[in-house]
């Protein structure tokens, strides 16, 4: 009796195992695969696009995926990957919304588990296709604000890189740097600063060519109140992108906060010597002078910036502002002077300085005729210097 039972059990077990293998084969058949290996050991490429049979294929392969006999079969992972890849490629969201993720995970698993490397070459081809599509899916998720899902997909793609010996991913613009960059974006949006820092650090180590990574890292450090480290990153970035305006601004502000503005001044001098036609550098040094109270030097740098680019709004604006503020300062003090004669003298001095502001504001207005600060400042200046005609004309222009 026991023997019979044994054989019955054996038969039944075999039948079940066979059934599960048949599920895998059925899935394969459904999507048009006729055999796994060709004469030379490579995969048969001729897969038929059986649109209507994809549901059936999914059904079989999902069954195979959970059965203990086939759940860890390399072939199962392979067919699962290909089935879901096809579902994604044929845009069958009616069958599965997450097809590409499943496809990539499956093919990755296949290649990881395939110790005998029987399916290696074929799997690699499909894995690369899946990885590229997975990355694009990640971008779609990101733009749909599903950041966690996006991050997971990027992570998956990152895991595929080690198998990309032919650089197919990079040649389809899915390079490692890009993957890490997008992982950073997702982490940033999720507010996961720790992960964001990890990714940024990696990118910096890989010399990713974008000043943004240094700026972002610096800002993260500033949020942690680590101004020293923040400045370190900015300076790292400036070594590579010496004339990036945001980096320079950050460096100025941080250097002043850390009492290192002299050092920065020296550095700017060296940069200007290297690139004397870069008006951005003069602007920044001028602003540093302005913050340090060296208005003459500030004005000289702003004027140099204007010399290089007369069409630049900000040097005109800043010069106008400098003279304007200087005039206001004089008047602030003057209003407390008791002596009429002294007051008159200071008033005249202030008006003279206001007068120097006017041409710069007028030049700024030519460049940007809608800037309200400039418009308002000019109105006030015309009053101060007593230029009624210009005041009236400007008022009319402003529709007042």
């Amino acid at each position: 009796m026991r023997k019979i039972y044994f054989f019955i059990v054996l038969l039944l077990t075999s039948a079940i195992a066979l059934a599960q293998k048949n599920n895998v084969q059925s899935a394969a058949k459904a999507i048009g695969l006729t055999s796994i290996t060709a004469v030379d050991g490579s995969m048969v490429a001729g897969i038929k696009e059986k649109y209507d049979e994809l549901e059936e294929a999914k059904k079989y392969i999902d069954l195979a995926a959970v059965h203990p006999k086939t759940a860890n079969s390399v072939k199962m992972w392979y067919y699962r990957g290909r089935t879901y890849l096809m579902i994604h490629q044929q845009k069958r969201k009616d069958i599965e919304l997450d097809a590409i993720r499943i496809a990539t995970e499956s093919l990755l698993k296949c290649i990881e588990e395939d110790e005998k490397k029987t399916l290696k070459d074929s799997t690699k081809v499909f894995l690369m296709t899946a990885a590229i599509l997975c990355f694009f899916e990640g971008q779609d998720k990101y733009f749909d604000e599903k950041y966690a899902e996006a991050a997971h997909l990027y992570e998956l793609v990152h895991g595929c890189l080690q198998y990309d010996t032919g650089k197919d991913l990079a040649r389809n613009n899915v390079s490692e740097k890009k993957i890490i960059l997008y992982k950073y974006y997702a982490a940033n949006k999720m507010g996961d600063d720790e992960k964001a820092k990890v990714h940024l650090t990696k990118l910096i180590g890989m010399n990713y060519n974008d000043p943004m990574i240094y700026i972002s890292m610096s800002r993260l450090m500033q949020e942690e109140k680590d101004t020293v480290k923040a400045l370190e990153y900015v300076e790292m970035g400036r070594k590579r992108f010496y004339d990036n305006a945001v980096l320079v601004r950050e460096q100025v502000d941080l250097s002043i906060a850390l009492g290192k503005s002299d050092e920065l001044m020296k550095r700017l001098g060296a940069d200007i010597e290297y690139d004397p036609e870069n008006n951005a550098l003069y602007m920044v040094r001028g602003t540093l002078h302005q913050k340090n109270g060296d208005l003459d030097k500030a004005a000289a740098d702003f004027k140099e910036a204007l010399e290089i680019d007369p069409s630049s709004f900000l040097p005109n604006y800043n010069l106008g502002v400098m003279f304007y503020n200087e005039g206001v300062k004089i008047m602030e003090v003057a209003k407390d002077i008791k002596s009429n004669e002294e007051y008159a003298k200071e008033k005249a001095r202030a008006e003279n300085i206001f007068g120097q502001a006017i041409p710069y504001f007028e030049a700024a207005l030519v460049i940007d005729n809608e800037d309200t600060v400039v418009l308002q400042s000019l109105l006030r200046l015309y009053v101060r210097v007593g230029d009624d005609a210009k005041y009236a004309a400007l008022k009319k222009k402003m529709g007042l």
Binding site: T287, D368, N369, E370
Partner: protein, 978 residues
């Protein structure tokens, strides 16, 4: 906040300047102000000029050159495609076309007619950064040209018509089709720009624009563009040549002074290009050789690093000693590999271009990876090997030679003067250019290499051949494939930028009647070079002329023969071409690299080519280096290397170029047309030979060709340079020892040529994709060259039919119908009978209409003849234009070559003028009837037959015969691939 804000780089500087005001439009011309005057400096290469400024902001630059009685009038507007808005691409170039459609006082097409009648020519071009209009004329036409240019600057606005607008839109789209979409690799630059520059960057769209952007433009868009950018304050008027500065300045003030200034134009600023990571843009095309380009960020024009980057590119990838030559060309991985740095106004690009062989040595198909891996390896090799002093010296000398050439013609000078004004912050001249390249040190090269190239990210553009057709399914797939220009801005909604709002056209008011065309003054005679001729005992004929203005010497050695001798029965077709190619390689005493290095150190060049009827050697050298250069020529001519390795490589290159020709509709048309009219004679085959013919050639065949046909007895030498005849003859004296061989030129029997009892249509099915153009060629056999006889008179007769922009054929097919970017007809003829030939490239579904219109014009001309007006125009142009033909060394060379080759008398030009003057309407009409035979023509169509076959069959010439790409008849039936 703004009080303390630091400067931030603006993405695109907006030019919010107020438009032309609504106040009084009459601008007082006022007195021009002299801004600077540049005089000659002994020992320096200086283009002298006066620079003036009118009160409306127009810059006037006058350069005097009295060596020839000619002049260039040019207007350079500092606006190109970079000033366009995303979604409205192509406007600058479209507008360039509109500038020829007439203005208030100049009728539609009259610009061409007036300039042509005065013996001049005119054209224009648009770049990313500027648009350049110019007329090249006898100097008596200067005032007229100034009147023309002023009229379209100040008075074009109201003359824009819907008809003209719609027509030119068609023409521009045709131009894109012809020069980009239908050209092998034609979309490469467009793809590169889209991927290298960020979205919205002015260099991210092509100059010619996208077709759908052109489709959404309307007349008001163009008028706005004109008002915004085409003011005199944004223009540079150049007057160069044999002019009186006072006189031409007065004309400038008269015609331009009253035109009101436009809105202010400020310098455009864009963020620097940053390539965060290597980027790939992959595309397919109907090509043979896969193309891979690798582009790094470069620098803008006149940037402090530009000269070093230019020289670095030369060292890396120009000439036979460069590492890219060594790793790609010499190793037979690619027939063509080069590196160059292109600097434009806003940024630059440092590019590596590799046209690879599609199959590797082991027979496998090349892949993307292979070329990229080798490029990277080559860059690493370059870093490791470093830069030698000799490499730098050679690069500098080659560059010096190129810069020097720019100062020769008045056209080049006009262009340079305009560019210096637009792009350089400080005063600049040729000597400055020479100096800045001369100053570059090895340290500079290392620095720029580190900064811009080594380890830097780049854009890869891969253009790959279409997959091979192996099955019917493949063929069906191929038929569905379309080569398309992708517009990334197609879906954006375009808002009118602020700078275009409120623009008002203020027409200038004059104190004279601008509608009166100025009278053309008296024209000085052409300065025809005097020359000396001598014959050596070995049969070599030399003609030389002294050209004092140029520091360079140009020598042409022209050997009769070429393809026609190897095309004879029993000979080896393609041998002439391949022999010439091989002679550019090493010699018995020097390798290819050594010879190249020698020439580069001298700034000299020796190039050997072969065509249908001649093999030619061109020698270019600085005067002071001529002896050394001629020593190298002697070595090449007398002791060619005929190295097996060189032969193998050069043959492979030629075979690749023959295979590549199949993608080109115009080359196929040329080959097959010649076959149709010359049949199986030696003129009916292409001078490169067919692939199979060249494949069979052995090194011994080339040696045999050289030994048989390179002979002084069939060679003419023309030398142009600053030596008197005795000096020049002495320098060429080494050619006396060249041993003569008896060389016979083949005779052509007219009986051997095909005869067509009636006009017949032939079709070569060229392409399978729907966006193809069709090339239409119509013609028949004609006469040999003669200086004053039927052949010459036929060219005169043809002028009104199809020999000029405003000839009947072009005005019909291009300007009226908008079928094509250009249509012409002409007579050719040399030592053997030439052909009458009319040709145009059109959209496939206009093929039948094109044939109808061509034949209509031809028949009409033959039956009804020339009009009085056309005859007057023809004579006026031909009699006056000769003065333009002697300015440059190459022009003088061409003139002397014609005289020597055809054994013409010294006064043949006068004889020709006499003939032209004497031709009557009756003479022209008789010539047309006798020399153009509309009932005995071949009509050749190269294109996608599926798009026109029924309509072409229905034209009344019977069903067309189908030919393959070599001109052999094949079945018309659709074939299936087995």
């Amino acid at each position: 906040m703004k009080n303390f804000v630091l400067f931030t780089l603006s993405i695109f500087v907006s030019t919010f300047l107020s438009a032309q005001t609504k106040e009084a439009a009459t601008a007082d011309p006022g007195a021009p102000v002299l801004i600077e005057k540049v005089e000659a400096i002994p020992g320096k290469n200086i283009v002298t000029y006066e620079k003036w400024k009118l009160s409306n902001g127009l810059t006037v630059i006058i350069h005097e050159d009295h060596s020839d009685p000619i002049a260039i009038v040019s207007v350079s507007y500092h606006v190109g495609s970079a000033r366009e808005t995303p979604g409205k691409s192509g406007f600058a170039h479209f507008f360039e076309h509109m500038m020829f459609q007439g203005s208030d006082n100049v009728g539609d097409e009259d610009h061409f007619r007036i300039v042509g009648k005065g013996g001049g020519g005119n054209n224009a071009f648009t770049t990313n950064d500027f648009t350049f209009y110019y007329e090249t004329v006898p100097n008596s036409m200067v005032e007229t040209c100034l009147w023309l240019e002023a009229d379209r600057m100040g008075f074009l606005h109201d003359a824009v018509t819907k008809k003209g607008f719609e027509n030119q839109r068609k023409v521009v789209k045709k131009e894109k089709m012809q020069n980009q979409i239908n050209l092998p690799y034609g979309l490469m630059w467009e793809i590169a720009g889209q991927n290298l520059y960020p979205s919205g960057h002015p260099y991210s769209w092509p100059v010619i624009g996208y077709s759908d952007d052109l489709d959404r433009a309307d007349e008001s868009d163009l008028k706005n563009f004109f008002l915004r950018w085409y003011g005199p304050n944004n223009a540079i008027l150049g007057i160069t040549g044999d002019v009186n500065p006072k006189e031409v300045l007065a004309y400038a003030v008269k015609y331009f002074g009253s035109i009101p200034a436009g809105p202010e134009v400020v310098k455009q600023r864009v963020p620097k290009v940053i390539i965060p990571d290597d980027k790939y843009a992959n595309s397919r095309d109907d090509i043979y050789q896969p193309l891979t380009t690798m582009t790094f960020e470069g620098v803008p024009i006149y940037h402090r690093d530009e000269a070093a980057l230019d020289l670095l590119a030369d060292i890396m990838g120009s000439g036979n000693n460069s590492i890219f030559y060594k790793n790609f060309v010499k190793s037979k991985r690619a027939p063509i590999a080069f590196v160059f740095h292109q600097a434009r106004e806003l940024s630059g690009e440092f590019s590596i271009h590799i046209y690879a062989y599609p199959v590797l040595k082991d027979g496998t198909q090349i892949s993307f990876n292979d070329t990229e891996i080798l490029i990277r390896k080559t860059l690493d090799d370059f870093s490791a090997e470093g830069i030698t002093d000799d490499a730098l010296l050679r690069a500098k000398e080659v560059t010096r030679s190129a810069i020097w050439d720019q100062g020769e013609s008045i056209f080049e000078k006009a262009l340079m003067l305009a560019q210096w004004q637009m792009f350089s912050r400080r005063k600049r001249n040729i000597q400055d250019e020479l100096d800045r390249y001369a100053r570059v040190t090895k340290e500079d090269l290392i620095r720029v290499h580190e900064r811009y190239i080594k380890g830097r990210n780049a854009l890869f553009v891969n253009i790959w051949p279409l997959p091979e057709i192996k099955t019917e399914a493949d063929m069906i797939k191929r038929r569905k494939w379309k080569k398309e220009s992708f517009n990334p801005y197609a879906a954006i909604s375009v808002e009118l930028p602020a700078e275009y709002k409120g623009l008002v056209y203020n027409k200038a008011k004059d104190s004279f009647d601008r509608s009166v065309q100025p009278t053309q003054g008296d024209q000085k005679e052409a300065v025809i070079p005097d020359y000396y001729t001598e014959k050596f005992d070995n049969g070599l004929q030399i003609s030389t002329t002294q050209y004092k203005e140029n520091s360079k010497v140009i020598i042409l050695m022209s050997m009769e023969g070429g393809h026609i001798v190897d095309g004879n029965k029993g000979s080896k077709q393609g041998a002439a071409f391949l022999t010439a190619a091989l002679l550019n390689e090493g010699t018995q005493n020097f390798t290819t690299e050594e010879i190249s290095a020698k020439l580069e150190r001298l700034g000299s060049d020796i190039g050997i080519t072969a065509g249908g009827v001649q093999s030619n050697i061109i020698i270019i050298s600085f005067k002071e280096n001529l002896d050394a250069t001629l020593k190298i020529l002697e070595e090449k001519l007398y002791r060619p290397g005929f190295d097996e390795e060189d032969f193998d490589r050069v043959k492979k290159q030629v075979l690749a170029s023959i295979k590549s020709q199949k993608s080109s509709g115009t080359i196929t048309a040329e080959k097959v047309f010649n076959k149709l009219i010359y049949g199986k004679t030696f003129l009916g085959s292409h001078f490169t030979g067919t692939y199979n013919q060249v494949h069979k050639l052995k090194l011994a065949d080339l040696k045999s060709y050289y030994e048989t046909y390179y002979s002084p007895s069939v060679t003419n030498v023309i030398a142009v340079g600053d030596f008197d005849k005795d000096e020049m003859i002495a320098k060429l004296g080494f050619l006396k020892s060249w041993k003569a061989k008896a060389v016979q030129m083949p005779e052509l029997s007219m009986e051997e040529l095909p005869k067509y009892e009636k006009t017949k249509v032939f079709v070569v099915h060229q392409s399978d994709y729907k966006s193809a153009n069709t090339t239409v060629v119509i013609g028949h056999i004609s006469n040999k060259f003669d200086a004053t006889g039927v052949n010459f008179q036929s060219t005169v007769m043809n002028f009104a039919l199809g020999g000029a922009f405003n000839s009947r054929i072009n005005l019909n097919l291009r300007e009226d119908k908008g079928f094509t970017y250009g249509a012409r007809s002409g007579f050719s003829g040399g030592d053997y009978p030439g052909a009458f030939r009319a040709q145009a490239t059109v959209k496939a579904d206009q093929t039948d209409s094109t044939i109808v219109e061509f034949m209509k014009e031809i028949n009409n001309y033959v039956e009804n003849g020339i009009t009085d007006e056309e005859l007057e125009f023809t004579k006026s142009n031909i009699l006056q234009r000769d003065v333009l033909n002697y300015e440059t060394a190459f022009q003088k060379l061409g003139y002397l070559n014609t005289i020597l080759h055809f054994k013409l008398p010294k006064d043949f030009k006068e004889q020709q003028a006499e003939v032209v003057r004497g031709l009557s309407k009756a003479d022209i009409n008789k010539l047309a009837r006798e020399e153009i035979r509309p009932n005995n023509m071949v009509i050749l169509v190269v294109g996608n037959k599926y798009l026109f076959k029924e309509k072409v069959d229905a034209l009344g010439y019977g069903k067309f015969s189908q030919l393959d790409k070599t001109g052999n008849p094949i079945s018309r039936a659709t074939y299936t691939v087995k």
